[in-house]
Point group: D2
């Protein structure tokens, strides 16, 4: 069975944490965010590569994307540093079939906004506990996931969340301070599948949680393309009758 | 401006409460549920009529439905007493253009199930407080409704809620015991608009809440048909070329 | 690899043709409609069983449906003879996970109407040639299907087609007399996937066409459930916090 | 009653036709495309302003968009000259509530692509006759429009059309050379409504057709915002419990 090629885009959260004197992030991700997310993918089934804001021109190229089945995107403080042409490149590769998973604060990442066409606006607040509910137990992304599970620490994301009506609302989050959020939503854009997944604030080791890892792995399996097309040009059509 | 014709179907919750010795319901709705719901509709803008399970053959007829803009449906203990032919009649009138608003435990009312095509299954639990969030502030049903509002007492309804992907998810509910629920969802079925709205357990005076009443009134305005068709038969079509 | 269990419901079109003196149908389907449809399914991958209106109580039972992955439904003159309880049984099994494929005039079959919640109304006319276009080349049902293909003889089905907005519009049909029709549309209802496919008028050997057979086989693979649930009851939920 | 503010963006098709020696366009639109489109809007109900590629920095500004209810966009040869920041400005104003109607070859206009998130790819061919079918007679955009109407000359646009699943498929086009196309589709993006409408090749006087003009007028009434929001920032949220 052919392995699924995963590309994980992250920011260097350890560098940013050091600049701000934040002590939680290095405790949560001592080896950086990439390592935490990459751990979700069994090396028997997945090839994992890394991309980042600091070397984005080398790590996100047309050739690499053409060889990527699913691109995971975690961005937060550096959204505006992503070059417009790379955001466009990602969108068109999704249209050709590449899967795209936007993680946490990627709700306003450039390629995600261009895929959904809305502002991605939401309300937020620091640290709370979250209960994630599986609203779509029939969905492949929810395979093996319990009806609900808890995250002891997570940033609050709250409705209203400015997104188009999802194809499926897979997860909905509950926060103890009274908020709710559509935590997992899916879209199709051309040949490509898109999944947004809310958990993943960098100050807590969310991506080491086994249920979260199962969801990421499921999402990769679901979003990996069954078919891919070469180009997006508008061809001429011959008369049929 | 032509008035909107509202028909409100309810069960006789006072009779059922008396049979069970329930004291909360008569306190919440001393004049019955119909009176509580009907109070949402300004008589300058709406004509309101009543239908009920005890006289359903007289109160839900083809003639009455043809003259109804929006049918509100509140049922709980007597779903199975609704004759199949009346459920069918309601569905076909919705297809012709009549609006339909399913309230609270009408998530498994016969006409609602036939309109959505799923089981309407959900999880539930008695009495909690609820916070209702407006997930679709752009929607006409949410006009004038705050970002969130509280209901001090409501029955818990919880995900997973077995419904088709909604056209719009207008409201999402939060319960203090840890549950979430898509509390307001919309569909189109033929010429008719459909809205499901979760608040409305009969032991608490939910329908006397001013925000709830505004939502019911908004829903009536939204679901009232702009166009209606006469029949649903499959006509013959003449050659066009 | 586990075989996919197919159940094909058909009417006895040879008997009906004989009653009316129709000579086209026995020429198109000398062994009956079931044989024509069943030929689409490679016996290495599929187990195929037959159901029919004349023995519907024996061929569509809770036990058989629980053991069916995908139910194909071809009905025309006998829609009203299908017992309501069997239509209901089919709908609830779809909600549990069984796939359902409605063929041709099943656009107004009882179980299909209860799944979609609209009237299924369309316009029609006898015999024309059709060109079927693949509008969703990314969809598993369209795998290996060309951008367009021709059917030399088919009944005309024309818009407006009274259906809910489809999850995907996989095929759109063109008729030489000037009509268009959404010929292949998909829905999800609970755990189950639903596909409506227009070609299949009984007077022409549509189901012997290799492209049509590929579509039926693709549809079976797509609609076969990955997960199935046991019941549709509304369970109680325990406090989470 | 407050008038609806329409802004119509067009290219200077007369200038482009002169450069190429095209004689059809000046015959179809002797006063330019703007005049043809603007004629659809009754001055009692609409204020109409013009925007264009040659003076886009003066005619599409934040202030003008904030005062626009519905922006109609006709572009063809000059898509790439539209500055990225203006495409972004349009998208965010749609998210705030402004309606957006993409006409004909605007299927690949920058703001439209950013709203839908797909490539907008389609197949095409010069000059044919088209029959436009009303697939969603219930929709406000179809009010008063017949079940089908003919355009004696139009460019062929053909499926597959790379768009997300529409909220409503209002029109489907038939071409005599054998093609079909989803000619009218709707989306919601934030507070704003989006409509794509295929007819409008500049060599034929499509926008002088009375049925086409009724559709444009209907679309303006449908897409004009009922509510508008000020900003798209992610606000902080206070604890609710």
């Amino acid at each position: 069975m052919k392995k699924i090629n995963i590309l994980i885009y992250t920011e260097d959260v350890l560098k940013d944490a050091a600049l701000r004197g934040n002590e939680l992030t290095p405790k949560a991700y001592p080896n950086g965010l990439h390592a935490g997310i990459a751990g979700a993918f069994d090396s028997e089934k997945y090839n994992v590569r890394a991309a980042g804001i600091d070397n984005i021109r080398e790590t996100i190229t047309p050739e690499i994307l053409a060889d990527t089945d699913v691109l995971f995107w975690w961005g937060h403080c550096h959204h505006h540093e992503v070059p417009d042409d790379i955001a466009e490149l990602v969108v068109r590769e999704v249209n050709k079939g590449m899967g795209f998973v936007a993680l946490h604060s990627a709700h306003i990442a450039k390629p995600f906004l261009r895929l959904i066409g809305t502002s991605g606006s939401l309300s937020w607040r620091l640290n709370d506990s979250e209960i994630v509910w599986t609203a779509a137990p029939y969905h492949p992304i929810a395979a093996g996931i319990p009806t609900h599970f808890k995250l002891p620490n997570e940033e609050i994301y709250s409705e209203p969340f400015d997104i188009p009506a999802p194809e499926d609302t897979v997860f909905i989050g509950w926060f103890s301070q009274g908020m709710v959020f559509r935590s997992g939503v899916t879209y199709r854009r051309g040949y490509g599948k898109v999944f947004y997944f809310q958990p993943g604030h960098e100050e807590y080791p969310i991506y080491y949680d086994e249920t979260i890892r199962q969801i990421l792995s499921n999402a990769a399996g679901w979003a990996a393309p069954q078919a891919r097309r070469d180009n997006l040009n508008c061809p001429n059509v011959e008369p049929v009758v």
